[in-house]
Symmetry: C2
Subunit: 377 residues, 2 copies
């Protein structure tokens, strides 16, 4: 535990933010863009549609010509067929839907209802006006946005390159006989945040060729804990220890070539939270996403007191009651990863706070985001 000098989480965040930036743009086809992170804002150059269009298949008419039409006064009009999405011909301002039209072989329509001006017409710019933002920088491309980009005529799109994250499982197996529990968890987390996982052994941890190195385990005070010392020796150890629970033995440094390295504790709950607060932030920044935690945040009221040690940023698992208030459940320190079973989410109690009395407002993060595969981030 030489060099172990816990810093506030804000110091660790500042280190990450200085060490990581999105990498570079790469162009992908719309078909391959789902879940990717947009490199630059996309705006319409022209309104969509560029002209008044038929909203349905039918016949384009001048509505004024249908004035007075009725079941007892059918009007016979000649009109061109039009398909949904086609621009209205000059002199027309409404569309008679095909299924309501009676049309003979000579193209003569029998109209028995007057058409309102604009009926079944999609106006110029109705989908998006000129200069509208279709997707913002850093947006994770969702299905509806991909559809919109297709409509806007975008065939290829510039997205942020995915960072290569070298993942090293350095600690002792904390689970059943020889089973690694942190590996599957971290692979899934890195993929969620837009990184490409490359597993490596401890001996290759600090080799060149990655955008970020994540080493899990071996950060503690035990005699078999070598991660911090190895990083200090072969590269630099810039921060060792964060005043948080769980996750206090996280560390930060660089390889000899300058690649950022993040050390995560091996205890699974500490590993999870040091990932979420630190490594995940680094991966998301490298991937061009917002660095914020990818959980839905909502201000809620505490139903019971939340206790937290002053001087430590604490992650407290919480359960949501029927009435929408929250209460703490068995902590990550007591129950390890088991704390997530009973929890609907968590709160982050700042180091300066001793917690919250019952009945006060606090920001909570919830797991129940509903689905999707990564948007919005």
């Amino acid at each position: 535990m030489k060099d172990f000098r816990p810093v506030p989480v804000e110091r660790a965040w500042a280190w990450i933010d200085a060490a990581t930036n999105r990498l570079r743009p790469e162009e992908v086809a719309l078909d391959d863009a789902a879940g990717r992170v947009l490199w630059a804002e996309l705006r319409t150059t022209d309104p969509i549609p560029t002209a008044d269009c038929a909203a349905v298949d039918g016949f384009a008419l001048n509505s004024a010509a249908t004035f007075g039409a009725g079941a007892y006064n059918p009007l016979t009009l000649v009109a061109d067929r039009i398909e949904a999405g086609e621009p209205l011909p000059p002199g027309t301002d409404a569309v008679l839907a095909a299924e309501l039209a009676e049309c003979d072989d000579a193209g003569r329509l029998s109209v028995i209802d007057p058409l309102a001006v604009g009926a079944n017409v999609q106006r110029r710019g109705a989908i998006a006006p000129e200069g509208a933002v279709l997707a913002a920088v850093g947006a994770c491309l969702d299905p509806a946005t991909l559809g919109l980009l297709g409509i806007a005529g975008v065939a290829r799109v510039a997205v942020a390159a995915r960072p290569a994250i070298r993942l090293v499982i350095a600690g002792r197996a904390r689970s059943g006989p020889l089973l690694d529990s942190n590996g599957p968890m971290l692979r899934a987390l890195i993929a969620r945040d837009g990184g490409v996982v490359r597993m490596a052994g401890f001996g290759e941890a600090l080799f060149p060729g990655a955008d970020l190195v994540v080493i899990a385990g071996g950060t503690g005070p035990g005699p078999s804990d070598h991660s911090a010392a190895a990083l200090a020796k072969a590269g630099s150890l810039e921060i060792y220890g964060v005043a948080m629970a769980p996750g206090d033995t996280a560390g930060f440094g660089r390889t000899a070539a300058g690649t950022p390295v993040i050390l995560l504790p091996g205890e699974p709950a500490a590993c999870l939270w040091a990932y979420e607060l630190f490594a995940g932030r680094a991966v998301r920044r490298l991937a061009g996403c917002t660095p914020e935690l990818p959980y839905r945040r909502q201000t809620v009221i505490t139903a019971r007191k939340i206790v937290s040690a002053i001087g430590l940023t604490e992650i407290v698992p919480v359960r949501r009651l029927e009435d929408g208030r929250i209460e703490p459940v068995a902590s990550f320190v007591e129950a390890g990863l088991g704390a997530t079973i009973a929890a609907d989410g968590f709160v982050i109690v700042a180091a300066a706070s001793e917690g919250r009395p019952a009945g006060t407002a606090i920001d909570a993060y919830f797991y129940d985001h509903g689905g999707g595969f990564g948007w919005p981030r």
Copy 2:
């Protein structure tokens, strides 16, 4: 539009639920299980941990033996080193953290603070008691659950096989010159719901070899709309038309071999909603997930009247105001997919309803789920 007889959405849902079931289990390694859907409930057989364990690296002691220890009364005790996660040796009930211990080469500790019983001990069953549910049937495996399963000694897990979804883009291109907007959107939606997309041409649409066929476009009344007629001819068309907006020209049937086929309208907003309400439900059921819409649902108050035609189930895009109430924005009929730009979510107004006056409660679905790559579903 022969055979076009719109049915209530509930009828279409009943058809889907009768036509689709999860496929079969397949076993995957924990490393490959992220985002997969659990086939059977996973419970602990033994408590985790199975015995009282060290929560930190240090020295296992009998707390009673430390009674009276103090800075001016250091006690010298002999104790074994213990690593976090190891079971406590018989006769010990507390752990002195390594960083607080002074230990000479002969293994003699100098103890200057009394240890409370249970200090730095993780109790038998603290992570999960015997018989605890680690993950439920149909759960989408998230990172923390993967970690827990690793801790529980689960190396391989039975997940639902991914359904093969044949996707056919049959309609005219509705977007810019020759660009298809529905293809990228539907591929992303199917992947989100756990399906494996296989693109096919219209001529191969009804061949054997898929778990579900989705044909987008060509469902309308136009002269170039052949999807419904082709399905009726080569297989069966069992439902054609749903009383909803947008998306009323959705259709349902089977190939000659009995594979379910869902027809989606080609207009992009109608395509999106017919997918979300019908094809998505089918994919999610085949994939073993809950059939519910993968958006977060919340009861909210309307700030303005929501108007809806009686007899039609309507999808109404809504915006959330600062105070948490919602109001409708330009409809999908007016603005097509562009309606999603201004919306934070949507409400589904049932066919029997004419809408809602301002100030009433309604269930809304929101896009702001925060992230994740597909859990929980």
